[in-house]
Symmetry: C2
Subunit: 144 residues, 2 copies
């Protein structure tokens, strides 16, 4: 469904948000440990998220990654997925046709619309804050 990079990116963002809510910066080492991902690869993905203005990085001693507290509730899963995997997953054709629409649909087009709409809705209506709070309350987990 999502690429590994995207999975790590989502989990990392949630963990950073969780810590930013408590005014703590976190680095790739701690992040990768908490979300069970390869450290250097995770660092690369964090760089991409910084470039896409999803998270902030502070260089130098006592640096790390954080998210502006006021942004945490406005950053949606769709923003993160878009920054890493693009929007093909919830906009593209299920069978990979370049042009696939009501005029010239692929065989799955009609039925696939529902799945895509559900996925789009999930991604666009879920914000980082709610995900971070679930973790904080012990209602969901970032690793096994």
């Amino acid at each position: 469904m999502f690429s590994k990079a995207c999975e790590y990116g989502i989990k990392a963002s949630i963990f950073i948000a969780l810590n930013s809510l408590e005014h703590r910066r976190v680095g790739p080492k701690e992040i990768s440990k908490e979300i069970n991902s390869p450290e250097a690869f995770t660092a690369k993905i964090l760089q991409a998220l910084v470039r896409n203005n999803i998270i902030n990085s502070i260089k130098g001693a006592h640096g790390g990654f954080e998210i502006d507290k006021k942004d945490i509730k406005t950053i949606m899963l769709a923003d993160i997925v878009n920054a890493i995997d693009g929007d093909n997953i919830y906009k593209g054709c299920g069978l990979g046709l370049q042009q696939c629409n009501a005029d010239k649909p692929c065989p799955m087009h009609e039925k696939f619309k529902l799945v895509r709409a559900e996925l789009k809705n999930l991604l666009e209506s879920t914000d980082l804050e709610s995900l971070a709070l679930d973790i904080k309350l012990g209602e969901s987990f970032l690793k096994n």
Copy 2:
């Protein structure tokens, strides 16, 4: 969403079904032309579908691929996807956790359930015959 191999496999199966309904066998050359896919790679995927008893192959001159007419309406998209990509796409965790369930859910678990259920339903309730008939009636297309 699906791998390229799976996309090709689905489209190829539909095209073979369409032709089997009219008692025509088709080979990799014609198939890949009609579904716009690389020929040799498509041939490999067809082999996999044969091994999984989704389609039949007849070797030698005048050979080719076909599907038993009586099977066309009982082969589901899920069968094809399963044979090529496995069932992770509609059974696995959206964030890649090995164990992700109501007891120990990932942050997307609850919301993702809907998407997965929708996808599972689509795949398990759509049979090759209906897809092939849509193509035949010019209501959907296998390439641009």
